[in-house]
Point group: C2
Chain length 341, copies 2
DNA sequence: CTGAAAGCGCTTACAG
DNA sequence: CTGAAAGCGCTTACAG
């Protein structure tokens, strides 16, 4: 590949002039510019980024650290990030950690070595000390979906509202024995949803029945099993609020196997609004999270951090969730039902 | 951040020795090595990749070009790629093109500039001349899922078998009016599935009815509409074979809205085996594609190309598909049904 | 086994 | 507005 000397030679100028012409920041004679541009064209010259990076230390690449791309909530967020990154001339490196600290450290090491200009994490937990350390070093980082208090920039959904609005919706449909199939209490996002759920119950004067609440479920299998236990426990839920659509699918599977019809016999509310939620049978009502926007905002924030000389005060951005009403929740205002099974 | 000179100073040796110690390829006195390693530890030294890259031209990064991460078939493939890449100390950059040539060219330019060592494409079409050009230049590239004849390395699924086995399965269940909701004939993978479907029909002595075949559908909406037209056309299908699970979801939605029960009234067979296929109602029978393995193999191949000095002969690797029988296909050997609706 | 020196391809003060 | 030169941080033939 041609280098800057080749271009300079062909254009009859010095390498400095080629560099200046290309950077566009420093005035260059119009005629000179034309000669240079032509030589660039002819040789299909592309500056060597290693050489550039060696000077200015920028790679125009950011890194994304997530547990697993196969988790259906991430693709939309990824799209948000890459779209914004592209707009700034940036490119994104993707890393899966499977929630493993060692894998994560490996990636952080190798990415810093590869000099990404900044990092977005979706893997923050209470033991994420390496993230805190990066922050201390002044390295640009933004958290996404999960956060770590107010000390690090983060873009998350309003999880309290999600739990609150979801439960309130079910209450408005006349349900009183609302089960909650929740995730791990080790993550603030699930604690918040739980808190929102409790708040809604409290406001409605419904006494919380601990037997209706299951924490620590993960994928659809665990939700499937939890539902089985819930049904045989005598807790008698009239609606089930799962804190992910994937879990809601597990719930529905368990219900169907027990010949319980959704929503005639029992209602189900999901969380996330994954791509296929509207195609479920019945179409799943759910608390929609703005994953694409979360990705966008996180990337925008990271771009700001990368560009700013001084370290701006961290911002915790909380995006609103949105209730999406489909057919999986019945109750008082339920109209359909004739022959839909 | 500390550089090699700092380390050399602290260890009381020359930068050359530090470099040699770290590379491990050249013998270094044991004692010297220890001093160096300690200095490296103390200063938390990490070699600057830009400087390294400037010398050897390797970035230890590969690029992946796909239409859209949000398409449910890609996450698994991405995981396959990143897992293999990680094993080789490589990192992966992700780019979405939305099937747009300009976006793709932009990314290819910017990635080459950022000196990725190689590229995996899932976007090849007949007009992908830039891909051919890269190949001519000797730049390491591998195609995935789609291919471009035998001139470029590619890892794909056996699409002919997929169409053939799927149709044969439906025929074995006694169906004779099997509709095919296919993708664009501009892509070889859909031409192959169609060819397989035709072959199975031919073998079974079933005359192909063109009214039962719809090409050019894409997402679930188009499949949904195509199904509507199919049902009102008088073509009277007894089974519908969709060439993606997403399309199959659209098909099922259309059937349910017309009060047709799956599989009692009509059977549905999908293609891909996406994550949620088993959670559909009814669980979707489908032709499973080994996306994870496709990603793995593509990455392995790319690593080979990057490492080899000479350009090896291109290999077209075709991975087998697998029929996954669930409840959405009824017919002769169908046993369930009591109360499953 | 080790050091001094050259060079990878840029950018940017410095001088004019 | 333009050129010659220094320097970014490594690696690696060259010499010893």
């Amino acid at each position: 590949m041609a280098n800057i000397k080749d271009v300079a030679l062909r254009a009859g100028v010095s390498p400095s002039t080629v560099s200046r012409t290309l950077s566009g920041k420093i005035p260059v004679d119009k005629e000179t510019k034309e000669k240079v541009m032509q030589a660039v064209q002819e040789l299909n010259y592309q500056p060597n980024v290693f050489a550039q990076g060696l000077k200015d230390g920028k790679s125009k690449t950011i890194g994304l650290i997530i547990p697993n791309v196969r988790n259906l909530v991430f693709p939309a967020a990824i799209r948000g990030i890459t779209d914004v990154a592209k707009h700034y001339g940036y490119t994104m490196v993707l890393c899966n950690t499977d929630e493993d600290q060692e894998t994560e450290s490996f990636y952080v090491q190798s990415l810093r070595q590869r000099l990404v200009d900044g990092l977005i994490f979706s893997t923050a937990t209470e033991k994420s000390e390496h993230i805190l350390k990066l922050r201390e070093e002044g390295f640009p980082i933004v958290l996404m979906i999960r956060h770590l208090g107010g000390t690090i920039d983060a873009v998350i959904a309003d999880n309290f509202s999600g739990g609150y609005e979801g439960a309130k919706f079910l209450l408005s449909r006349g349900f009183r024995r609302i089960a909650l199939i929740n995730g791990t209490m080790g993550l603030d996002l699930y604690r918040q949803r739980y808190a929102g759920y409790k708040e809604a119950l409290l406001e409605a004067g419904v006494v919380l029945d601990d037997r209706l609440v299951v924490h620590e479920t993960g994928d659809w299998e665990t939700a499937y099993e939890a539902t089985g236990r819930l049904l045989t426990s005598g807790a008698k839920p009239d609606a089930i609020f799962a804190t992910s659509d994937t879990k809601a699918l597990g719930v529905m599977k368990a219900l169907k196997e027990r010949k319980l019809k959704v929503p005639e016999d029992i209602s189900v509310l999901g969380y996330d609004d994954i791509e296929t939620a509207s195609l479920m049978d019945p179409p799943l009502s759910t608390v929609a999270q703005p994953f694409y926007e979360i990705g966008q905002r996180a990337a925008e924030r990271l771009m700001k951090l990368i560009r700013s000389k001084r370290r701006p005060k961290p911002v915790l951005e909380k995006l609103p969730v949105r209730l999406v009403v489909r057919d999986s929740v019945g109750g008082e205002s339920y109209i359909g039902g004739e022959g839909s099974s």
